[in-house]
Amino acid sequence: MTNSSISINQLCFSYPDGTTALHEVSANICAGEAVAIIGANGAGKSTLLLHLNGCLLPANGDIKIGAIEITKKSLSDIRSMVGMVFQNPDDQLFMPTVYEDVAFGPLNQGLTPEEIKKRTEKALLDVDALQLQDKPPYQLSGGEKRRVAIATVLSMSPEILVLDEPTTGLDALGRRQLISLLKGLNHTLILATHDLELVLELCNRVIVLHQGRIAADGPAAEIFQNLDLLKQTHLEQPLSLRGCPKCVGNGVQS
């Protein structure tokens, strides 16, 4: 992996109906970091993520991936560098078979057939889904769909992986498999999630969004001990950080 950092400067965005989604959001993310973006529903997490690969373009401010600013012209370059995994895997798996879905990205990158085959098979191997390659998406389980969705993005060899709510709807096993998979990757990781335990396992840095603004940006350990901050931003402490119920009374920090 090369070292493409992400630099977000004073990003502002409003929806067509006028609601402000993001207001003067700024952050710098170094290559190789694993950052979690957390916040209540409607805080702007998904909107921010959609800016990272140019699905949405800023109304004000700018975003640079490495040295390249995200504009209409640089979209195809950006999308080779930033791989986005959407919330709903069904939206991501639109080809007749798993293999064709994973090969879709490399095909659009204009690679040779041999290279496409190599990348597709490697990506499937990385997510432990090689045996599923000929299956149509509707035959897959929730966990399998998620893994294949990640493979569809891995096959493009991006430097940065952006995932929107990756553990939603997964059972314990599926979730565990996903966490091991993500731990094994050395891409720059950006996760929007409600799953705070996942954050503790994977991410060293947390950005808290509240009503379109950054409320906090720092090490996970610090943020999760700041109970006032968590309360203000309508969040709760991860379960594993709360004290033993017996020692701390009823155990729920209000």
Partner: protein, 270 residues
Amino acid sequence: MQNIEGTLLNFRRIDLLASENSFIHRIDARVKILVTLFFIFSVISFNNHEISALLPFFIFPAAVSTLGKIPFSYILKKLILILPFAVMIGIFNPLFDRHVLVSIGSIEITGGWISLLSIIIRTMLTVSAGVILVCVTGFNTICQALNQMGIPQPFTTQLFFLYRYIFVLAEEVCSISNAYRLRSVTGRRMGISTFTPLLGNLLLRTWERAERIHLSMLSRGYNGVFNKIPVTPLNRTDLKFLFGWSFIFIVLRFNNLSVFLGRLITGIVE
């Protein structure tokens, strides 16, 4: 509600049958499509009082379904579903055509009944051919073949998407109708005033889903063009299948095999 679960099961069943590996499955899809169309064309080209010459045509569906491991009961079920519709139109034939064509002893059979029987036989032949085609080929392969045969890409690509998302949409309709059933105390069918917001919401969600799919396509470098599927050459087996069956259909079309066999047997007996 129509049987949504049944519809989904039907799709899955056909997918399963199509994923088998048999001699027929390995024949090129383009050949299978052409042979099926030629078969149907030959069947419907007979005049409307023909019966005996049609019967030998059953060889084709019988052979292909057996070699293709398609259960006879499955084809029969499909025929039973479709025949009433054919009879519904065909039943007018005996009413309007009273011209006596055949007398067996004292029983006079009018042209109308003969043409009705002909319609029934045609239906059985054409429907079974269509069912068998999709069961030994699979929908996605058929779409690829259509593209290779010259059907424009916007249409075939769109067919792929349609098929892919039928499962998703059908499941959504399933849950909507369950939700309705659980909350409609009277148990009656919904009226237009309930149907409208129900369908409207489904349409909005579907549209938003399509927008998200498009976003995810863009995120993976989609630039409006799908790569054309390369045209694979036909091999000897494919060609033999194509020309062999075509020859058989032509022979059967212009020679009444039933009558021929009948004469042969009665000739031997005498």
